[in-house]
Symmetry: C3
Subunit: 170 residues, 3 copies
Amino acid sequence: MQKSILITGGARSGKSALAEELTLGLGRPAVYIATAEARDDEMRARIARHRDRRGPDWRTVAAPIALAQALDDSDGEAPRLVDCLTLWLTNLMLDGRDWEAATEGLAACLARQRAPVLLVTNEVGAGIVPENALARAFRDAAGLVNQRIARVCDEVWLSVAGCPVKVKPR
Amino acid sequence: MQKSILITGGARSGKSALAEELTLGLGRPAVYIATAEARDDEMRARIARHRDRRGPDWRTVAAPIALAQALDDSDGEAPRLVDCLTLWLTNLMLDGRDWEAATEGLAACLARQRAPVLLVTNEVGAGIVPENALARAFRDAAGLVNQRIARVCDEVWLSVAGCPVKVKPR
Amino acid sequence: MQKSILITGGARSGKSALAEELTLGLGRPAVYIATAEARDDEMRARIARHRDRRGPDWRTVAAPIALAQALDDSDGEAPRLVDCLTLWLTNLMLDGRDWEAATEGLAACLARQRAPVLLVTNEVGAGIVPENALARAFRDAAGLVNQRIARVCDEVWLSVAGCPVKVKPR
């Protein structure tokens, strides 16, 4: 009964809270697979805030780069929540990895999981075209990652001001 | 028969026109609660454009900061339209106010209204992460305000190219 | 049996692929009306990528500015796909044209077509307000073009991570 669900939305649109609720609805305790790296104080504060909101129902695993490995390693009974793909892509790009190959690897990995996987990602492409070429490249890559992973997921949700909108299947 | 409705969307996505239509559908004349402050020519032009589109069905009240007070003062028979929460948040932040406390105050205020309240807000979090720390803080705050107010509203609408999409309740 | 369909979404959200699929579902071969101008290498690469994805089912016409003319000239049996309105608006603005008049002209042109027309556009207004006044003006104009054209279209779709969401009619 493998099931994979992608949750997307803008910044502070309630994606993580929705993802946590959906994950615990599929089984508890659950595994939280964190892709964030605490590179600066702002990020450390955000990680701490997210961790505070989660309760004792969660076991946390860090996977800033080796996400497919973390999914394979944690595959059992418990649902897994990956938070989030956009930070994972950032880490891949900053580390000079082949993000397209990694995305294909993740898509294949999702198909072989037995326990459910929920993935949080971000909408970053609905603003004005960035002046910065790197920001444009990241924006394009993030959109392509979202499309590729959405294609292999059973469900895709968009969070709007905390309100969940199911966009796949409809 | 209190009813509160939040209308969100990107810039020039038809939010205000939708909000005005929904408001007048709940009763006329209506009260327009403007949070805009005419800080520069661009803003003055935008305020004038919006005011031109509205007809004699509207009585206008200015509330750049004291929004809950304006709602309490205008609570009677007529529906109220607040346009918009994003500018209200901007005013709070520029004025050094505690926007989180003000948002809680607004949520409580909405719960005690007797006449309907419609609120326009903006999606500002679906672009690339801003390089500017203040812009990032504003983007986060705007997302949190939208979530908090959406939670206490009976209905939430997303305007896409002028097409209304109801995201709560579904 | 004229039919016009607007497809919107963020960058790399799967708009073009969706539009191509919907167009070929209405008849083949189809006409691809490209508004892109190859101003730099990044744009040339993007044009080539899009062209590679399209097959021999497509005849391509370039219309960076004279879009209504290209629609009138190609009106027959075959469905037409315009990709995209945001680049068309960019071209109009860079060329110093009256984009509002051109948009009214396009709306009128769409109403007189006999064969179907699909139009791709971009969501550019859901990020933080740009610091740059020109970017703000473009963002406003793009939103207004989307609203105006959506109003005369029979259908409007929003693409989210490659998942089509019909927003008109609902």
